[in-house]
């Protein structure tokens, strides 16, 4: 048994605590990797099989559809995993297990704990997008017009998108009651995916002008269109700076809302 310290303990650097918290989340994510991938990648992969493989084989969609679909599928994987990897633990921890107490008592400002959680969500979002990319190539075969010449843009959109959705996950996870978690999927995530220009290009909505402008409130639109701008720049898409600018603003809004909501739940 160690004797208690008579003098006040040495201050711990915020970065030290942040890294320890992040290591904890990475450790847990590694343990749960198969379940994590199953949870977040299943839906996009099923979509790839039906719309990227079966329908083209049947001749029910035109040949270029895969080029439209791939960036959208990456956007969906990114969004789903970033949201879920933050929102689900938050709902559980604050709702009933109270496991996060341990971390809330760490010697660091409360917002740092929330920020770390969002960063962990960003990492998980990027990982699942990276996981889906080769799968997509495998399922759909060669994809016309696909280029990795703008890797910097791809990375930027990926990180910006993951940041926005991870912060959204924080906001949702700390804002909704545990018993409403099902509602989060049916009322927020499902419409977001279907009206997120993931499975069709935004420019295609020229045919339905009302929709074209209504979907602009949906952050997924900017990730999907940004991915198109970066991965398949020859296909018509929203200008890349517009996608990035919008994502930046949305990410900032969700961060603010997410951190505020976390603090409200953490400190009574």
């Amino acid at each position: 048994m160690n004797e208690p310290t008579a003098n006040p303990p040495m201050p711990v650097r915020t970065s030290t605590v942040f890294i320890a918290l992040l290591r904890r989340d990475v450790r847990v994510a590694m343990k749960e990797l198969p379940f994590f991938l199953l949870r977040t990648v299943m839906q996009p992969v099923l979509f790839l099989i039906v719309f990227g493989f079966l329908l083209p084989k049947m001749g029910m969609v035109r040949g270029g559809y895969q080029t439209t679909l791939l960036p959208g599928i990456l956007a969906v994987s990114l969004a789903l995993s970033a949201i879920q990897s933050v929102a689900l633990p938050m709902v559980q921890d604050f709702g009933w297990t109270k496991e996060i107490e341990d971390r809330l008592l760490a010697p660091v400002a409360t917002w740092v704990i929330a920020a770390e959680k969002i960063v962990a969500g960003v990492i998980q979002g990027v990982v699942s997008a990276l996981f889906v990319l080769p799968l997509a190539r495998l399922i759909m075969g060669p994809i016309p017009n696909l280029t990795f010449g703008h890797a910097g843009d791809v990375l930027l959109i990926t990180v910006l998108g993951a940041t926005a959705f991870s912060a959204l996950g924080m906001w949702l996870g700390t804002g909704i009651a545990p018993q409403q978690i099902g509602l989060m999927f049916s009322a927020i995530i499902a419409p977001m995916m279907f009206f997120g220009c993931a499975y069709y290009p935004w420019r295609g909505l020229d045919a339905v002008p009302v929709m074209k402008y209504a979907v602009l409130v949906n952050p997924l639109v900017y990730v999907a269109e940004g991915m198109r701008g970066a991965l398949t720049p020859d296909v018509p898409h929203m200008p890349l700076p517009a996608s990035m600018g919008a994502l930046l603003v949305i990410a900032a809004l969700f961060w603010t809302a997410g951190l505020r909501s976390f603090r409200k739940r953490a400190i009574g």
Binding site: E3, P11, A20, R24, L105, V108, A109, G268
Partner: protein, 342 residues
């Protein structure tokens, strides 16, 4: 030196319509509605006063008990002192650091054992301790060393690589204590640490707490078990409905318990008339009616019972149940609050 100090500490929880309807979703220590004392004074049901001007001083190295029924404000007090609940008014400091202005400094100096064990269930037993240490900047090798020392002390060294869910309730609570100690805090808070433990695990936990006390740590424990408070605490604060009712050394408080034996008769109707009649009996120092209960303080132990029953019957009441209590913290508590502890 005072290790903990509160001045006119007040906490009011706003009650939103949702909160009034639904069960609290609050954390163990606190956020909205935690410790949401069901018995605390509700003000037009719009807000809930959990603490009403609490002044406390806890000395360094002291084993201090916060005693009170559910809803007294104990958990809210701990919540404020552990930086998990913001006080509505007043001041509080722990180990020289202000809980509102410098919560990070407070967190560095305290260890907290929650009412309900809340280990990190995604990690195994050892990882729980090692990651917690990492949050306090303790290097991994040192953390593992300390973790094994604690696990050995609690006879849990063979559980180091077990899942937390494989532990019994008592073992989980000991893991919580190990976690609270591993960064070597000077002040330890325990919120009802023995609730839900079987008697054997409770006694084992008492031994652990006595050990900590001997090492000179400051310990603040809430409990609603009188015996626990009597056995462990140097000084006790009795609180109810957010107010401090008594604060003194445990022995001094016991000495303040109203003299004589407390006899309670449950009657089949209002006890007022019977109370008046019993007051006239010999060896009765006090007699009062609380609804259908007749509370008598006897200076002659149980010997007045038959006379008391006769007096009650002469008042037209039937006696349904009789209880006897020797002078104790519990009788003091009933004297102070007018109600029982649990």
């Amino acid at each position: 030196m005072n290790e903990i100090r509160t001045e006119a500490l007040r906490k009011v929880y706003p009650l939103s319509p949702a909160k009034r309807r639904g069960p609290s979703t609050a954390m163990a220590f606190g956020p909205p509605g935690a410790g949401a004392p069901p018995g605390a004074a509700a003000n037009g049901a719009r807000e809930l006063v959990a603490l009403e001007g609490l002044d406390l001083e806890v000395r360094g190295g002291e084993f201090f008990g916060l005693l009170g029924p559910n809803g007294a404000g104990k958990t809210t007090t701990i919540g404020i002192l552990t930086t998990r609940v913001l006080a509505s008014a007043g001041r509080a400091s722990v180990a020289g650091a202000d809980v509102i202005n410098d919560p990070v400094a407070v967190r560095r100096r305290i260890g907290v054992v929650p009412q309900r064990a809340n280990p990190d269930r995604s990690l195994n037993v050892l990882e729980n301790l090692v990651f917690h240490s990492a949050y306090f900047g303790i290097a991994r090798t040192e953390a593992v060393r300390r973790a094994m020392v604690h696990l050995e002390q609690f006879a849990m060294q063979d559980k180091a690589h077990e899942k937390v869910d494989a532990l019994s309730g008592g073992q989980q609570q000991r893991l919580m204590i190990a976690r609270a100690l591993i960064h070597e805090p000077g002040v330890i808070f325990l919120d009802e640490p023995t609730v839900g433990l079987d008697p054997q695990a409770r006694l084992a936990l008492w031994d652990v707490l006595r050990d900590l006390h001997r090492q000179g740590r400051t310990i603040v424990m809430t409990t609603h078990y009188m015996e626990e408070a009597e056995q462990l605490c140097d000084r006790l604060a009795i609180i109810d409905r957010g107010r401090l009712l008594a604060l003194d050394a445990t022995a001094a408080l016991k000495a303040r318990a109203p003299g004589g034996t407390l006899i309670e008769l449950s009657l089949d109707g209002p006890a007022d008339d019977a109370a008046t009649r019993v007051r006239a009996l010999e060896h009765v120092s006090k007699s009062e009616a609380v609804g259908e209960t007749l509370r008598i303080h006897s200076t002659a132990g149980g010997r007045i019972i038959s006379a008391a029953i006769e007096a009650a019957e002469s008042a037209g009441r039937l006696v349904r149940n009789i209880t006897l209590k020797e002078p104790s913290l519990e009788t003091l508590f009933i004297e102070l609050t007018g109600r029982k502890l649990d």
